[in-house]
């Protein structure tokens, strides 16, 4: 709607300026809403399974012959919340480097997905995990044992990345 009149007083009619009829109208609307169908999901019973586009907890892709990560540290560098710490070490494999330590502090993580976007090896991806519970600050720092997820469980996300990244 193209509003020509600028001042509020000019735009409103007498009844509108009185407020009360308009408030009554609004209350009519809210009253009607009360009897409409509800959209609430009963969460713990009805679990929501996200699609591949969902950005949940970041995890490391684990292939049959070991992790993809080469500990380049770009995820750590790009992380705006400084949630990731990587310590590289040398290995005898073709890719000379591997992460000796890879830790994500889930209290810092903001699920922005930059780590996934910057990763040159597609080694860190956002999973579908969203129900994260920690009982201490130390527990929220996830190490390699908790981060490594087998590639077969991440197919949805990898497919999504192939199509849209």
């Amino acid at each position: 709607m193209n509003i020509r009149k600028n001042s509020e007083a000019e735009r409103l009619s007498f009844w509108e300026k009185l407020y009360l009829p308009e408030i009554a109208k609004g209350m009519g609307i809210t009253f009607r809403q009360m009897f409409k169908p509800k959209f609430t999901r009963q969460y713990p019973e009805e679990v929501w399974i996200p699609t591949g586009s969902y950005r949940g907890r970041p995890v490391l892709v684990n292939e049959d012959d070991g992790e993809r990560c080469v500990a380049c540290g770009l995820c750590s560098r790009v992380c705006p919340a400084l949630a990731i710490e990587v310590q590289a070490a040398e290995t005898d494999r073709d890719k000379e480097r591997y992460p000796e330590k890879f830790e994500i502090n889930m209290l810092r993580c903001i699920y922005c997905g930059f780590c996934e976007e910057v990763c040159p090896e597609e080694a860190i991806v956002m999973s579908k995990d969203y129900d994260l519970v920690f009982t201490s600050q130390e527990e929220a720092i996830l190490g390699k044992d908790k981060l490594l997820v087998h590639i077969s469980k991440l197919q949805d996300r990898l497919e999504f990345l192939r199509q849209y990244k």
Binding site: C72, L82, E85, A88, E96, P120, I141
Partner: protein, 589 residues
């Protein structure tokens, strides 16, 4: 003196200089890989191609001009490499013309054909010349779709250097360095074309004391340090300027620090001291004692056991016990490893107590000396210590007499600053007979185990101060590692992770040591003996040194930084400032 035009800028050049040198001196950077100011010209990377031309001459010898009155230039049909073309009177050079840029982009595409692009794995990533040029001087794409050549990786060249043949772009800087600077001609190209690689001569090893310099000059990550390999990404470290304390040469260095640990030491250009180099000894040995086995708290010996106490308590104890001796029973051991500031305050303290017994240990090792960057004096500041007054006079006890004087009971108390007596076993044997042994030290050692009072001193990497090198050059340096004392001052100079960590981040669980610069501890002790000194920082101390000691006259920290050091007694006549060449480095983010 030929006059040349580079990018339409008139420059008066020196005779026999090449275009790239003249351009560099005048602030114009021509992209290059193989050229290095300290090495001979190889001209094999072809990155520095520029358009070169001369004004067109008419048959009568006059210069042809166009309608607007400008001289007409006839450029050579083929581009010239700026590193091997000497300047000539009236020469015109275009470094950013379309032809030059096209040539640079073509060279970049060519160099990247067989480069593996394994930057995520490569230690050089972040400070790589090839990476930098791939952004600045490349098309950003490659037409090469075939398989890349594979060459051997992880070849050991020597005790400290590892070679990755795939990443090499055959600039030959390392070959020339080995031959010309390290004087160990063991490297050469083998094979041809895209199979070219660098190999050692048979049964030879590149084990020169300067071998690790090839790691810095290598424009790519083909040469990496065995010591540093994969310890940290360069962008996670902070690089702060320092001086190598390995010997009296005083090579200028940068300290790479992450998690409050020195991870590597690399040279910093100073044309009057170390040019672009430093020795492997300096790189590999001068961080261990900063990172490990540190004394972090003051201790007092109670009933034969060391008890941890507060600094104030330890200083009061030291003052109270020093008071009980006659001045001539006390000996002060200064240090050639400590800064001028520390030694000056120690000397001042000795004077305050009327003690003449003041000397320091010498570290002369003729075997260490060569005629390049290593000198026989293995302590960084022997000259400085002598200058600021750490020297015995005719009647006082010298360090050589210390052993016997302790035995005879003439010396009953010693205050040792930043020394361990490790190489002076003769003296060390008798030290346990002393009534009082106060030690200001970095590391736990045999000396601290017999000390009565231990005070935590900061190392060279944690303090601000000055060293005087073997050529009497005074050089200023600032801290790179955080202690509880300089925490606030360091602030943004810390590495990224150190800067922004909180208490619950595991990556910031670095140790912030509770150590102090030696002169601050000594001032604390002195003030408990009514000295009333109020130096707040090293600036104040150095200011007093420049007032009281003639050879330091006219110096201050700003001037020392500006001229990269001043020679003693010649503060008014500093060496001329030049533009320091830096091949490639971590760009500040």
């Amino acid at each position: 003196m030929p006059h040349i035009y580079i990018d339409d800028k008139l420059i008066e050049a020196q005779q026999n200089k090449t275009i790239i040198e003249v351009a560099f001196e005048n602030g114009i950077d021509i992209p290059h890989f193989c050229w290095h100011p300290e090495l001979t010209v190889a001209g094999n990377c072809r990155m520095c191609l520029v358009e070169v031309g001369m004004p067109k001459k008419l048959p009568n010898g006059a210069i042809s001009v166009d309608s607007s009155g400008k001289p007409e230039i006839s450029y050579f049909p083929k581009l010239q490499i700026a590193c091997a073309t000497t300047v000539a009177e009236g020469m015109y050079v275009r470094t950013k013309s379309e032809a030059a840029i096209n040539a640079q982009e073509a060279v970049m595409e060519f160099l990247l054909i067989n480069h593996p692009l394994d930057c995520p794995i490569c230690d050089e990533a972040g400070q790589c010349k090839l990476q930098e040029y791939a952004f600045n001087h490349s098309k950003g794409m490659s037409r090469f779709i075939e398989t890349k050549n594979h060459k051997p990786k992880r070849q050991s060249w020597g005790p400290n250097v590892l070679f990755d043949a795939e990443r090499c772009i055959s600039c030959s800087r390392c070959i020339r360095f080995a031959k010309e600077i390290a004087k160990q001609d063991v490297l050469t190209f083998v094979q041809r074309g895209d199979h070219v690689t660098i190999e050692l001569f048979e049964n030879k090893e590149f084990d020169s004391p300067y071998s690790m310099n090839v790691i810095e000059i290598c424009p790519v990550g083909a040469l990496t340090s065995k010591d540093f390999r994969f310890k940290s990404r360069v962008w996670d470290m902070s690089f702060n300027d320092s001086i190598c304390p390995g010997c009296a040469k005083g090579c200028n260095t940068k300290l790479g620090v992450r998690n409050n640990e020195i991870l590597r030491i690399e040279p910093r250009a100073n044309p009057y001291v170390n040019k672009f180099w430093m020795c492997d000894y300096g790189r590999l040995t001068q961080y261990e004692f900063v990172n490990n086995n540190r004394i972090t708290d003051p201790y007092i010996k109670v009933d034969g056991n060391h008890k941890k106490v507060g600094l104030d308590e330890a200083c009061s104890e030291a003052a109270n016990r020093l008071k009980q001796f006659n001045p001539h029973q006390i000996m002060f051991v200064g240090s050639a490893k400590a800064t001028n500031e520390d030694n000056y305050i120690l000397a001042k303290f000795a004077k305050h107590l009327n003690t003449k017994n003041l000397d320091c240990l010498k570290y002369i090792d003729e075997n260490f000396q060569d005629n390049f960057l290593r000198c026989a004096d293995k302590a960084p500041n022997t000259n400085g210590a002598l200058q600021v007054g750490i020297k015995p006079d005719l009647h006082s006890v010298r360090i050589e007499q210390l052993s016997e004087k302790i035995a005879t009971g003439d010396i009953k108390a010693i205050l040792v600053m930043e020394e361990t007596f490790e190489e002076y076993t003769e003296i060390f044997k008798n030290l346990s007979e002393l009534k009082l042994l106060v030690v200001l030290g970095y590391n736990h050692s045999n000396l601290t185990s017999i000390a009565d009072i231990i005070l935590p001193a900061s190392t060279y990497a944690e303090i601000e101060g000055t060293f005087v090198n073997t050529d009497l050059r005074v050089q200023h340096f600032t801290p790179a590692v955080v202690t509880s004392e300089n925490l606030r001052f360091m602030g943004m100079k810390m590495s990224r992770l150190d800067k922004f960590g909180a208490f619950n981040d595991r990556w910031t669980q670095h140790q912030v040591r509770n150590s102090r610069q030696s002169w601050k501890i000594i001032q604390k002790i002195a003030n408990r003996l009514n000295a009333n000194w109020s130096f707040r920082n090293s600036h104040d101390v150095f200011l007093e040194i420049t007032h009281n000691i003639a050879s330091f006259k006219g110096m201050n920290y700003e001037l020392l930084d500006e001229f990269q050091g001043l020679t003693l007694g010649k503060a008014e006549k500093p060496d001329p400032k030049v533009r320091n060449y830096e091949s490639h480095y971590m760009k500040p983010n």
